[in-house]
């Protein structure tokens, strides 16, 4: 595909992986270079519109795959094979939906965020519109965006103790109740 080639040409070694489902092209880049990659894509390839950005928690997916593998492993162990422990891939993903307004092509950029290092560089310098999506991503997954002007919970209240879209958060909630403390400037935001 032509888009894939041109992305590969611009990003070079920074493009770690490509995958494509039903015409949606996803490119994975290293977390440290995300803003550099987005700048390259914006300036060189004309992906000048940020549709949205959001997080994904992959922990349940890995768990499932591990179980499947274990099952297979047990079967093969009976046949004399051995199971190899693979390192767990990073838990979170952040996906940027980019759009080229000239050619109407769409490109999805993906970074993987490990649980022990949840800091990602903010894209608000490139697009002002990244402001609320990044706040929501922090709210729902706890991913912190370095350089964001005001990283504060967006949908949940400031004192909310958890990150609700993580897979280990139960659907029915954990019984949090909002205590109405009158504090005009809450401490709930991360700086």
């Amino acid at each position: 595909m032509a888009l894939k080639d041109s992305v590969l040409k611009v990003l070079g070694k920074k493009a770690l992986a490509f995958d494509e489902t039903a015409g949606s092209l996803f490119v994975e880049v290293p977390k440290e270079h995300i803003v550099a990659c987005l700048t390259l894509l914006k300036n060189e390839l004309g992906f000048d519109f940020l549709s949205d950005l959001f997080g994904v928690d992959n922990s349940a997916l890995y768990e499932k795959k591990k179980k499947k593998k274990k099952k297979k492993g047990e079967e093969s162990e009976e046949n004399g094979g051995s199971v190899q422990e693979e390192p767990v891939p990073p838990r979170f993903e952040v996906i940027y939906l980019l759009l080229n307004l000239e050619t109407n092509q769409r490109l999805q950029v993906r970074i993987r965020v490990p649980e022990n290092d949840l800091t990602v560089e903010s894209a608000t310098g490139l697009w002002k519109g990244a402001n609320w999506p990044e706040r929501e991503c922090f709210d729902m997954f706890g991913i912190k965006f370095r350089g964001h002007p005001y990283l504060k919970r967006l949908l949940m209240w400031d004192e909310f103790p958890a990150h609700p879209l993580r897979k280990d958060y139960p659907l029915e909630g954990m019984g949090e109740e909002r205590e109405l403390v009158y504090e005009p400037e809450g401490e709930g935001h991360w700086t």
Partner: protein
């Protein structure tokens, strides 16, 4: 201290709290306005009052069960949400929807676009003190809702369509109803146009109020009528034609300054364009026989292959997209909704700086912020 308060720290201002339950706020939105005299220096926005965890719910429901939840996003045009979600799942599964079903979808989506624009123009008038157009338009909206009710039993939360097609053909006397509605719409839009567009008071209240340049609008992620009001000719129906939209002949209206008047005018013209599309779609529909299929071949339990997909349609408000990640089971692994007014509303502080407090309401109305879609 937030960036808005930091910016105005040296100014002398009074804090005015608008919302979350205020008759002029659209749903439960809250804007904390810092005003000096009657001039707004800045606003802090608080959203999330209507947050129901739709995305979390989606992860725990099957693909079919999520359709009624999408009704509750933008409740002014529920059908557009349904269609957008269904199309995303169909794209993930690689389903080909029959032509007849696509035409019914187009007709219903365009009807809901008219209904949505009617709400906006009517309420914008009410917010600015022009009450009469509201009645002229809402009688026709009622007629549209009758058609919805008569098609699938619900008026507001339609749960329209199925994954892979639609549930029923258009009822037999659709043509009669539509020709009656068309006349009524034409009259109501014409009357509203006469009452408002060249009205001195209306022009004073809307022209030049809260303008935004095309570059800024694109940087903020504007889509839909609010972007077209800035002069950017962008409509997913033309630019990334989905369904059968490439076969229809219609115009994309654009404004110039991106102010409240242009946003109003773009929507007024779009209503007439939607009427044109419905006429063409219904003519195509009539040519198809009664035995044409309405559903693609869909398994009883939907288990899309592993993968992820993003699909967007042009909803009345702008680009409404669904990102769906499937892990091969009967429930989606992750659903992300890209609501159009979410990206638009975050620019509100920039739009409203230096305007009068009464323009805050006008601006908010013209952006068409729907809390259900904003907070999800």
């Amino acid at each position: 201290m937030g960036p808005v308060k930091q910016r105005i720290a040296n100014e002398d201002y009074v804090t005015i709290n608008v919302g979350p339950s205020h008759p002029a706020m659209h749903g439960t939105l809250r804007a904390i306005a810092y005003v000096s005299g009657e001039t707004v220096l800045g606003t802090d926005l608080e959203i999330g009052y209507l947050h129901r965890g739709v995305e979390k719910l989606g992860e725990n429901l099957t693909y079919h069960q999520f359709i009624p939840i999408t009704d509750r996003l933008n409740y002014c045009s529920a059908i557009a949400n349904n269609v957008s979600y269904e199309m995303a799942v169909e794209k993930l599964m690689g389903l080909e929807v029959p032509e007849k079903a696509q035409l019914i979808r187009i007709i219903m989506t365009e009807l809901s676009r008219i209904a949505d624009h009617i709400v906006l123009v009517g309420i914008l008038g009410v917010d600015l003190g022009a009450f009469t157009p509201f009645f002229y338009l809402f009688i026709q909206r009622e007629e549209i809702y009758e058609i919805f009710e008569w098609y699938n039993g619900a008026r507001l939360t339609n749960t329209f369509g199925r994954i892979g097609g639609v549930e029923a053909p258009l009822p037999e006397d659709f043509e009669e109803r539509w020709s009656k509605l068309k006349k009524g719409l034409d009259k109501a839009i014409g009357e509203t146009d006469k009452l408002l567009t060249h009205n001195r008071i209306w022009m004073d209240r809307t022209i030049g109020v809260t303008p935004i340049s095309a570059d800024d609008a694109l940087n903020w992620g504007f889509t839909g009528p609010c972007l077209r009001a800035c002069g950017v000719k962008r409509d997913l129906r033309k630019d990334e034609p989905y369904s059968l939209y490439h076969q229809f002949d219609f115009e994309i209206p654009t404004g110039k300054h991106g102010d409240v008047f242009d946003r109003y005018m773009v929507r007024m013209i779009e209503m007439r364009e939607s009427v044109k599309i419905i006429d063409q779609a219904f003519a195509m529909y009539k040519e198809l026989g009664p035995d044409e299929p309405l559903m693609a071949k869909v398994p009883k339990i939907i288990r899309p292959p592993e993968g992820e997909v993003y699909h967007a349609i042009e909803s009345p408000n702008g680009e409404l997209g669904f990102y769906i990640k499937s892990d091969g089971t009967d429930k989606p692994y992750r659903i992300k909704i890209r609501p159009p007014c979410y990206m638009i509303f975050q620019a509100f502080d920039e739009l409203i700086q230096g305007e009068m407090i009464s323009d805050l309401i006008a601006c908010l109305s013209s952006l068409n912020i729907i809390a259900g879609e904003l907070d999800r």
